[in-house]
């Protein structure tokens, strides 16, 4: 389990560091995506989550959902292209679940990927991800989770 400046960054996930999102390939071939602990820390306590609906197609790096925290709003950009198969009702009822468990119950969408092999090639994982997040946090002047 990787940690960068106090932020949990699991090494088995795939990340788009610029967009601060993660992807995980499940055993059934589906992809689960969400915000990183770093992103959740930057956003603060989330109060709203608006996902794209099941059945909708999402292009790579386009919004899968929007999240709001008090007076801030931002996108959750999908790290891979695909069709939405599930959104998270638990998060809809309690958006701060993302802050508490960003890689578990706080997931934000499940997709059937259009091209996992191609899209995942642009993502980073393992030690490369930890190094990339350290660099981003340094550039952003981020003190830590």
């Amino acid at each position: 389990m990787g940690t960068v400046r106090g932020c949990n960054i699991p090494e088995d996930l795939y990340y788009n560091v610029e967009n601060n999102v993660w992807a995980r390939k499940e055993d059934d071939g589906s992809i689960t995506i969400g915000m990183t602990a770093f992103a959740a820390a930057l956003a603060g306590d989330l109060v709203a989550y608006t996902p794209k609906k099941e059945g909708k197609s999402i292009k790579k790096d386009k919004s899968a959902a929007t999240v709001e925290s008090g007076k801030w709003v931002g996108p959750v950009k999908s790290p891979v292209a695909g069709d939405v198969t599930a959104t998270n009702d638990q998060v809809a009822n309690d958006p701060s679940l993302v802050n508490r468990d960003p890689y578990g119950d706080g997931w934000l969408a499940k997709l059937t990927p259009a091209d996992w092999d191609g899209d995942s090639g642009d993502l980073v994982t393992g030690q490369d991800a930890l190094d990339a997040f350290e660099k981003k946090m340094d550039a952003d002047g981020f003190d830590g989770c």
């Binding site: 608006t50 794209k52 609906k53 909708k56 292009k59 386009k62 919004s63 929007t66 709001e68 007076k71 801030w72 709003v73 931002g74 996108p75």
Partner: protein, 128 residues
């Protein structure tokens, strides 16, 4: 029309409110950020008193409510979401403003014809 059909929609905010009505000056940027987060193409066109929000030193000191975030912060967050800010050139003289006095976040200073094009070509027009 909803989030699922938002991609590439052109949304124009016509911002005429300014420092005399500060409580009207945060929401357009927040809503613009939200629409940009939904992958809409969002542009905010400042005219009439709205151009005063683009004057250096004004949005940095203005809040919509006591103790709230500065309007400049809302504008910067909107910019980070991809929102474009356009100032109305013909409106500047009325407030004794020169283009060089505007904040760095302004993408463009344009004539009324640009606004007319945006109005006629956009999917949604919202006025504040």
């Amino acid at each position: 029309m909803d989030f699922d059909e938002a991609e590439d929609q052109l949304v124009i905010f016509l911002m005429t409110s300014g420092p005399s009505t500060p409580q009207r000056c945060a929401t357009p940027f927040y809503l613009g950020s939200l629409l940009a987060a939904m992958d809409c193409d969002v542009k905010i066109f400042f005219t009439m008193e709205g151009v005063r929000l683009l004057q250096k030193g004004v949005p940095e000191k203005l809040t919509a409510m006591e103790g709230g975030k500065y309007i400049h912060t809302f504008m910067q967050e909107a910019k980070r979401s991809g929102v474009e800010l356009i100032g109305c050139k013909p409106a500047l003289p009325g407030y004794e403003l020169e283009p060089g006095e505007l904040i760095d976040e302004v993408d463009e200073v344009a004539n009324a014809g640009r606004l007319a094009d945006l109005i006629l070509s956009c999917d949604k027009l919202i006025t504040f």
